[in-house]
Amino acid sequence: MHELSIATSIVEAVTETAAAYPGAHVKEVRLRLGALASVVEDSLRFCWDLAIEDTPLAGAALTVVTLPVVVHCDACNADSELDGVQSFRCSRCGELASDLRQGRELEIESIEIEEPESAVEQPAQEK
């Protein structure tokens, strides 16, 4: 149950980024979570509203993209996407594969922000 810590870390990171866009409102936060990230999406959503309350993220939607595990198979010399997380075997040849290439991601991919028109025009004028 560390999802509240995770949610708080997201709020800190997004607040830092959003500070570069004065007056902007964060509409959406997009995450990439690997299948082995040990974060339960439902628990994270449960904590989300509490974590964003009274922050620049208040009201922001949370979108989670779950990434499957990808291992590199030495026998096939190729990457192999796994169906689940119960067996780390190459989906082609069935050999055990320890070289993890994807699946631990715990990442903020992007945010969608809404800016007042004046704020958007300013960078254009500077040019």
């Binding site: 560390h2 870390s9 997380v85 055990l96 320890s98 699946g103 945010i111 809404e114 007042p116």
Partner: protein, 222 residues
Amino acid sequence: MTTRIVELRRGILKKNDELAAGLRQRFQAAGVLVLNLVSSPGTGKTAFLERTLTALREKGVRAAALVGDLETDNDARRLASAGVPVRQINTHGECHLDAETIGKHLDEWREVDLSALDLLFIENVGNLVCPSSYDLGESIRVVLLSVTEGEDKPLKYPGMFNSADAAVITKIDLAEPCEFKHELAIKNIHEIRPGIRIFETSAKTGVGIDAWLDYLAEQKRS
């Protein structure tokens, strides 16, 4: 109003990862090998560590331990009997240790000089989920499971088992009454973490401890 997408591509635990990278450099500079011990509550991390620390001290290996629990200093008091420096960390509710906490405790731990240590053990909070995401700057992550927990533990907690560098099966003296199936447990560990080193041990009888100590010596040399 106008909307725009801002790419971040940033780790949620970036702050922890950066602090852990700093700790890793600090451990390397001091020449101390750091191990992070993770398991469910009740697996026997403390008994295993007590046996390990006592054996290391007898061999003249300089070891110390940081031990994490939500509350109480019971584990630190138990481990102190091994005769090596031990410091308790109470997380007061947090289900895992993080790099910031480790750094803070190392700074406050006046009686311990990292460069005077060969090995530092960090006994994490008993939990097979959350600690898997938090790098503590360790070189070796050791996952423990006891024969009383069932052979399918690795399949139930793949995130943790897949992140480990070594696995220790504890309470092997109870294997028979528990009808523990060694081959199945080993197969399940390897199914989740192919090729990982596995040690079958008993802190009570000492079975398997020598092989574990040999592994530590080998890792220390490499």
